[in-house]
């Protein structure tokens, strides 16, 4: 297993240790706002354990993925504001 993987967040490359959840990569890339709520509020992770669904992002073209429960894989493309 490689020590680091590179994923793409909103078009920018982000290098993180292997085994890092997508949510952490998004936070480390400087996005505290993961999505907008249905009325337009900024939102980010709340529960950190896959319950609250606030950390949803688009991963590899799949919308509404819980970023805190999915680990970064080499070449993954992530979009915030899913």
């Amino acid at each position: 297993m490689p020590e680091f993987v590179t994923i793409w967040i909103n078009g920018s490359a982000v290098r993180v240790p292997a085994g890092t959840p997508v949510s952490i990569a998004v936070l480390m890339a400087g996005h505290s706002e993961f999505r907008r709520s249905v009325s337009g509020e900024p939102r980010g992770p709340l529960c950190g354990m896959g319950i609250c669904m606030e950390c949803r992002v688009q991963i590899d073209n799949q919308a509404h993925c819980r970023s805190c429960q999915i680990l970064c894989q080499e070449g993954m493309t992530v979009r915030t504001h899913d």
Binding site: V38, A63, H64
Partner: protein, 382 residues
């Protein structure tokens, strides 16, 4: 029916049992006509069949009587559309009936003749136009029929809107009230008290046969699923044409491809029909059949995040027409029930036809086909 001798002074002119969409529409129509009306329900507004349904306002062509009622009612909804508040999520998205083969395409043309000769705006789509209208449909479909003026709404909020309008015009709403039976002076509650009323309207949907003898309304179970929000994924209510063949088979369970775009981008996925199943739980096997049918027509649905599945029971009659009018054996009781899967669509017309009969007003369409005592409805041995 509602001769002045029958008007009670102490109580209400009309007591409606059931705060679903049909009861709500009836309450508003009664209140508009100046009748003193009360609505009773043991559950929240729209908590029965109304809350479980799709909210598709659709002109149907199974029979002339069904067409007349659905068309009249859709025109009433379209008139009201402008005044519905945003939470009702009224949207004139149209219906597309999809043909998968040449036989079903022939049905498209038959429907086109039927609708257009009766003044309903329809448009035949070839396979290319169909793909353009709904890019997520699978390839290889033959075409479809677009019924432009069909629409969708969110039934629980539509029902509350109707009730609140009725209340503004003097109607009384009493929830958490379980009606035990229908007496000659009005509904009898489970605590033994009587709500005094000249006429009692049984709009209790699947519970209506428990309140009064002599009517046959069977629960017909259905399943639905709803997805997360995917704006732009689906543009119309899309229904397969195999639907009609299967939907009315009384003997066996059936599923059909029937999807609806919600205004917020969520997608409702149906549908199923089961007779004789009174279990509220999800039927895992049928749910899977329903999903397979849906993903067969629209493969990309497979990748959409599904939030919820649920079941509901439609109040079905033997001839697929509702009961609207006086009970054949009890002139103090009226029926407004048995709307099967078309209660949302036909609620407004039902209310008008009911109040027309109560007040002996001329009606805009004939009400005879929906009278509870109609021939052909009751069993030969009953």
């Amino acid at each position: 029916m509602l001769g002045h001798s029958k008007m009670t002074t102490a109580g209400f002119d009309v007591a409606i049992v059931g705060a679903g969409v049909v009861g709500a529409a009836c309450a508003l129509e009664c209140a508009r006509a100046g009748l003193r009306v009360i609505v009773l329900d043991r559950d929240p507004i729209g908590g029965g069949t109304t809350g479980a349904g799709m909210g598709h306002l659709v002109v149907m062509d199974d029979s002339e009587a069904q067409f007349a009622l659905t068309r009249f009612s859709c025109s009433l909804w379209n008139e009201r559309g402008v005044e519905l508040p945003p939470e009702v999520e009224y949207q004139k998205c149209g219906t597309i009936w999809v043909a998968a083969d040449e036989v079903e395409m022939a049905e498209v043309h038959r429907k086109q003749d039927f609708y257009s000769s009766r003044g309903v705006a329809v448009e035949v789509l070839d396979y290319r136009q169909l793909a353009e209208a709904e890019p997520n449909l699978r390839e290889g479909l033959v075409g479809g029929l677009l019924v432009r003026d069909d629409s969708v709404l969110y039934p629980p909020c539509a029902t509350r809107f109707l009730i609140e309008k009725a209340q503004q015009q003097g109607a009384v709403l009493r929830l958490n009230s379980t009606v035990a039976s229908l007496g000659s002076h009005g509904p009898v509650l489970s605590d033994g008290s009587v709500v005094s009323a000249g006429i009692t309207v049984n709009a209790a949907g699947i519970s209506s046969p428990q309140l009064v003898a002599g009517i046959e309304v069977q629960p017909r179970k259905g399943h639905l699923l709803i997805t997360d929000r995917y704006p732009g994924f689906l543009n119309h209510q899309v229904v397969e044409l195999g639907y009609l063949k299967r939907a009315h088979s009384v003997t066996s369970d059936s599923v059909a491809f029937n999807v609806q775009p919600r205004k917020n981008g969520q997608i409702l996925i149906g549908s199923s029909r089961q007779y004789g199943n009174r279990e509220k739980g999800i039927d895992a096997l049928l749910l899977r059949q329903m999903i397979r049918q849906a993903t067969e027509y629209m493969p990309e649905l497979k990748n959409l995040s599904t939030i919820r599945a649920w079941t509901g029971f439609r109040p079905a009659t033997r001839d697929n027409l509702p009961f609207i009018g006086p009970h054949p054996n009890n002139e103090n009781i009226c029926l407004a029930t048995g709307h099967e899967g078309l209660g949302i669509t036909t609620s407004l017309a039902t209310a008008e036809l009911l109040v027309d009969q109560l007040l002996k007003r001329p009606s805009k369409i004939p009400y005879e086909p929906y009278l509870p005592g109609r021939s052909g409805e009751r069993r030969a041995d009953a």
